[in-house]
């Protein structure tokens, strides 16, 4: 129900209006702060009482419903946290179990190469695949490290960091032609520092920009936007790439998750998981919005140093 319709009803019959407000609030359609309108628009004591009574009942029921909704949301959040924990434990065990076989395989490959047993060049291929698995295990360790690593806590100039990351990426082989356009809030002031670990934040911003470049065509631009709203500094990295399918979005920050559109691009499926972990360590957040075929915006929100 729209509030305009509700106010029109009040002018006709305050009692009916009170009842409608009550029912509306029971159904969760009308916020309780509209109750005062019914008090201003009545013309008799009984309709007032009836209206207020219905409103009070409605508010109570609405409150109970809101409580139930919060409880349900809470239960879903707890369940989600527990699923994430179980997933992390599994990834941790998988990582652990892969280490010994990979160590033996790397030494075995070195022995085979030294023995001149690589007649058809297969050792090179196997070696590359073992290296790939080793990198995956290494990336999983990096994620695990974030859980235990002592974090530096100092004021970090995010704008400086974004400029540094843009320069770093430009200096990488094959990326000199890619342009990352910076849009930094300047008026009336530049975004202030955030409190946190400079290196982790650098890594997070690097991963966002790296992803944007990886998942967009070479000729398309990438934008990095930095704004501050007095409480948060927000870094947005936007690309005009392939985008992420709607059903992949809720999972993009899960370890090892590779969306269907990401299969063709080399990567471990850990980049956004790492960014999400860094964001949460800083009491911030990562939000990913995307449209298939249009592009993706990754938003990293970090609390300002003095907020």
């Amino acid at each position: 129900m729209k509030s305009g319709a509700a106010i029109a009803t009040i002018l006709v019959s305050p009692a009916l209006a009170g009842t409608i407000f009550g029912v509306g609030m029971i159904l969760g359609l009308i916020p309780s702060n509209l109750v005062f309108v019914s008090l201003q628009a009545n013309s008799g004591i009984l309709p007032i009482v009836a209206g207020i009574a219905a409103s009070v009942v409605g508010t109570l029921v609405w409150g109970i419903q809101a409580h139930q909704r919060r409880a349900l949301d809470g239960a879903i959040a707890v369940e989600r946290r527990s699923q994430l924990e179980a997933r992390r434990r599994f990834v941790h065990r998988l990582n652990h179990e892969l280490k010994n076989p990979l160590t033996a395989m790397r030494a075995g490959l070195a022995n085979l190469a030294a023995g001149g047993l690589d007649a058809d060049g297969s050792l090179g291929t196997v070696g590359e695949q073992v290296d790939r698995l080793s990198r995956l295990v290494d990336d999983l360790r990096k994620l695990a490290d974030l859980e235990t690593h002592g974090m530096e806590c100092e004021p970090v100039d995010v704008v400086g960091l974004v400029r540094e990351v843009a320069e770093m990426v430009r200096a990488e082989p094959g990326r000199s032609c890619r342009s990352a356009q910076l849009h930094i809030q300047e008026i009336p002031w530049e975004p202030g520092p955030v409190r946190g670990d400079r290196d982790l934040l650098l890594l997070a911003i690097y991963n966002l920009l790296d992803n944007a470049l990886k998942f967009s065509p070479a000729e398309s631009p990438v934008e990095i936007r930095v704004v501050e709203d007095g409480t948060w500094t927000t870094v947005e990295v936007a690309d005009a790439g392939t985008g992420i399918a709607a059903y992949d979005i809720p999972h993009v920050a899960e370890e090892l998750y590779r969306g269907r559109g990401a299969q063709a691009v080399e990567g471990s499926g850990l980049g956004l998981a790492l960014v999400e972990r860094v964001a949460s360590l800083h009491d911030g957040s990562l939000i990913v919005r995307s449209r298939s075929g249009k592009g993706t915006v990754a938003t990293l929100r970090l609390p300002l140093h003095n907020s």
Binding site: T148, E152, D199
Partner: protein, 234 residues
């Protein structure tokens, strides 16, 4: 040079033993913690390559017992979980170096050679010492504090960890990637800038002249080297 390789994983010892032998070392194997302790006493290896996860006694306990009994055989610990905390703990137990599994076997040989170059210690190795000094610079490892003379100098946690690592590996050229891997726990190519930032911090705090450094030398294209001599401070 004699190496004792202690690892309960048969596949690893089967592959590493011939590799290490071909690299010029005499190699013996132990499969659990107790056997390792016995063989260190009987074989007197020049280096002990010690896996952390082993039956009967784990690698950390083996290392602790060796050091408690004043046995300073150089130890390279093979870490499993590989978290920064575990690696730091390995050094605190008195290991001279550590490598994360799965490692490149050539890297293991490089580490063994580096440990051997430092010379066989007759007393406590610097890796097991709580307090290290070089000239008027001193670091207290358990409390993570650094001093010039009697004056405490302010380093960030990372800055301290880099200085500590370079002092423990004094004389060696340490690549940025290795510092990243060992201290930060990641080695993204682009993140080497993070190392430069911490090196700059240490130099600023120590008042180093980059052209004529007393402590930290830049080896262009390779990494950094701690050039001062490092002693165990009382």
């Amino acid at each position: 040079m004699k190496i004792l390789l202690a690892d309960d994983e048969q596949a690893i010892t089967t592959e590493l033993v011939p590799f290490l032998r071909r690299s010029g070392f005499e190699v013996q194997v132990a499969h659990d913690g107790e056997e390792t302790l016995r063989k260190v006493q009987s074989l007197r290896p020049d280096v002990l390559v010690l896996d952390i996860v082993m039956p009967l006694l784990d690698g950390r306990e083996v290392c602790r017992r060796l050091r408690t009994s004043s046995n300073w055989t150089p130890v390279i610990m093979l870490t499993h979980v590989g978290s920064a905390g575990e690696r730091a703990m390995s050094l605190e137990e008195g290991a001279d170096d550590y490598l994360n599994k799965p490692f490149d076997p050539f890297e293991l040989v490089a580490r063994i050679k580096a440990v051997l170059r430092r010379g066989a210690p007759r007393t406590q190795s610097i890796a097991a010492a709580h307090r290290l000094s070089s000239g008027d610079l001193a670091i207290d490892r358990p409390s993570r504090r650094a001093f010039r003379g009697k004056r405490e100098i302010a380093l960030t946690g990372k800055g301290f960890a880099v200085l500590e690592y370079l002092m423990l590996h004094h004389g060696e050229v340490v690549a940025r990637e290795r510092l990243l891997d060992e201290i930060w726990g990641w080695d993204y190519p682009a993140a080497t800038r993070a190392v430069d930032v911490r090196i700059a911090e240490i130099r600023r705090v120590l008042g180093e002249d980059v052209e004529h450094p007393s402590y930290l030398e830049t080896i262009v294209g390779e990494g950094y080297r701690f050039v001062g001599t490092v002693d165990i401070a009382g």
